[in-house]
């Protein structure tokens, strides 16, 4: 199994770099990074709570209950956060994951974020939402701080 993926480190890097961009007024790409930061934060907790890992060390490519299907949690925001409660059966330590995810006040704030924003014209990206995406990224990283103190990361 490869170890290229380090969700916790990536979550922080995307938050920090997003803030640098935001400080330069580059909201569109800052927002993109905040979304990835949240996604990485959630996936870091999922892996720490026993979700199966794939060949790159990230969430497994295949659904462990049905190898013909892709793993439903190997996806991007906002679908990822909406799937977490639905696919709780794929999270071996569900109660622990629930207690961490309770630190994300409003995951729904990311409903208008799209991974495809990177292809979009800037005028089509909901830039007014960037501040909310940043808040969620900050919460995701605070969640990882707690997990690190808890010894689960």
């Amino acid at each position: 199994m490869g170890n290229e993926v380090n969700y916790a480190a990536a979550a922080r890097r995307h938050l920090n770099d997003g803030r640098l961009l935001l400080g330069q007024g580059r909201r569109a790409n800052a927002g993109q990074l905040f979304g990835f930061s949240v996604e990485c934060g959630i996936k870091a907790v999922l892996i720490a709570c026993g979700v199966a890992r794939g060949s790159d060390g990230g969430v497994a490519e295949k659904n462990p209950l049905d190898q013909k299907k892709g793993h439903p949690l190997r996806t991007h925001m906002p679908i990822l956060s909406s799937r977490v409660p639905t696919f709780g059966n794929l999270i071996p330590d569900g109660p622990k994951a629930t207690s961490y995810f309770a630190m994300l006040a409003r995951p729904g704030d990311m409903d208008d974020w799209r991974v495809d924003h990177r292809y979009w014209d800037e005028s089509s990206i909901p830039l007014d939402s960037v501040a909310r995406w940043e808040c969620l990224a900050v919460e995701a990283n605070a969640m990882l701080d707690q997990a690190r103190l808890d010894g689960v990361l």
């Binding site: 938050l15 622990k96 309770a102 995951p107 605070a142 701080d145 690190r148 103190l149 010894g151 689960v152």
Partner: protein, 444 residues
């Protein structure tokens, strides 16, 4: 070399950070993770910390064996928000006893962050500082079957007879039964506290607030009232499913709402709605989080029910030791404790009372009272009592054993196997008087 075990690990870590050659500008702290493993944490960036000091700490950390989280120390740059981590409210100054055979009086102090899955609330006392609420009396026992709920019901009745508005909250969620003692089935409210917890988790706790309380007929012929918030509502069909979700953390804009915060919130809400003179809280038995919240965060007075049994003394001993290792918590909690000698038998009363008092004094003086030398100037401010001091927390309130209160129904008349006021006064009279006196002192 012997393997380090849980009991030794924290002391070994605490001893390592006493090293005088470590930089004094950044006192080393200890983080104990959810598995009990330890890591040193320093409130500076890793690049600012001297390399040789860092190596010494890493060596000491590795020496903890399986109780080392890993070889790395924690610095500010390990966290996204280091101010929140290092300035958080859960750091405690822990006092760790040295091995008694070597230096019996030596204790080491170290700042510890104890990360636990459950049990943190035994060390959180901040809610108790909130002013403006009515006296809250928590009824707690290490084990069931010592007459805790009966005493609570009878005190509610006595207070109602005195014209008081009594609010009674049943937090014994795993063993819901107080409503059965105080309410005939037709009077049980539509919803119980578990309903509030599950509805609150999805943001609509207010929906059930109006259906949460009922009047106990025990107060029907009194000038007061007994309003009961039961654990379980009338006609409940899904209690287990609800109970399984009660302790989940709930997201909120102000951070996750832990069970303790939610428990405090429903108590405050019910108090605001009902404006009671006194609140009686039935806590669940044992060393459970519900009891931790009730005693450490909600109680104005926490009544610790006990019988003269090794199980009682050992259990309370463990709890008191836990507080003793955290001096700030100890100081916040100990003044609100009062021990109750439950099921005080009919026979050999003088001898049994003396024996209970001796054990109780031994327990409190060893773990909760300040050590003072005779003639010490600090004596006046010290939290310390003589063995026979009747106002001391260790001096027991007593509830007499009475056969009529075994499996009884307080809603029945004496002719039907219930009790009358004379029976109640005989068993509970002195207990009532002492509690009422305590309430009056608190209200003043």
């Amino acid at each position: 070399m012997n393997a380090i075990r849980f009991n030794d690990a924290l002391r070994c870590a605490a001893e390592a950070v006493q090293d005088d050659t470590l930089p004094s500008a950044w006192p080393v702290r200890v983080v104990r993770d959810v598995y009990g493993r330890l890591r040193f944490a320093v409130d500076c960036d890793s690049s600012d910390y001297p390399v040789d000091a860092r190596q010494r700490l890493e060596t000491a950390q590795q020496a903890l064996g399986r109780y080392a989280t890993d070889g790395r120390l924690l610095f500010r740059d390990d966290f996204s928000n280091p101010d929140e981590v290092f300035g958080g409210p859960d750091w405690h100054l822990a006092r760790i006893a040295a091995p008694t055979e070597i230096e019996p009086d030596r204790a080491i102090e170290v700042r510890v962050l104890d990360r636990q899955i459950i049990g943190q609330d035994w060390l959180r006392t901040e809610l108790a500082a909130e002013a403006g609420h009515p006296p809250r009396i928590v009824f707690y026992g290490l084990k069931g079957g010592v007459g805790r709920s009966t005493a609570l019901a009878m005190l509610a009745y006595r207070l109602a007879r005195d014209g008081k508005r009594v609010l009674l909250i049943d937090f014994d969620l795993e063993s819901p039964g107080l409503s059965g003692l105080l309410l005939p089935p037709e009077r049980v409210a539509a919803c119980g506290l578990v309903d509030w917890f599950v509805e609150d988790a999805v943001g609509q706790g207010d929906l059930v607030l109006g259906d949460l309380l009922s009047d106990s007929p025990l107060a029907d012929n009194t000038s007061g009232s007994i309003r009961v918030a039961a654990a379980m509502g009338n006609g409940e069909r899904a209690y287990m499913s609800k109970l399984a979700r009660v302790y989940a953390d709930v997201p909120s804009p102000d951070g996750p709402q832990r069970f303790a915060q939610r428990m405090g919130r429903i108590v405050n809400t019910l108090e605001e709605r009902e404006r009671p003179d006194v609140v009686l809280i039935d806590s669940r038995a044992g060393l459970h989080d519900v009891a931790a919240v009730a005693i450490s965060r909600l109680a104005t007075i926490a009544l610790l029910f006990a019988t003269d049994s090794e199980q009682s003394w050992q259990g309370y001993g463990q709890l008191f030791k836990h507080w003793n290792q955290h001096p700030q918590v100890l100081r916040a909690v100990r003044e609100r404790l009062a021990i109750v000698q439950a099921l005080f038998p009919d026979s050999d009363q003088v001898e049994r009372a003396r024996r209970f008092l001796d054990r109780s004094y031994e327990l409190f003086s060893e773990h909760l009272y300040d050590d003072i030398e005779p003639g010490d100037d600090a004596q006046l401010q010290a939290f310390s009592f003589q063995p026979d001091a009747k106002d001391a927390p260790h001096f027991p309130l007593r509830v007499r054993w009475n056969a009529r209160f075994q499996e009884f129904n307080p809603l029945m008349g004496r002719e039907d196997g219930g009790v009358d006021d004379k029976d109640i006064e005989l068993a509970f009279g002195p207990f009532f008087e002492q509690i009422i006196e305590l309430i009056e002192v608190l209200r003043a």
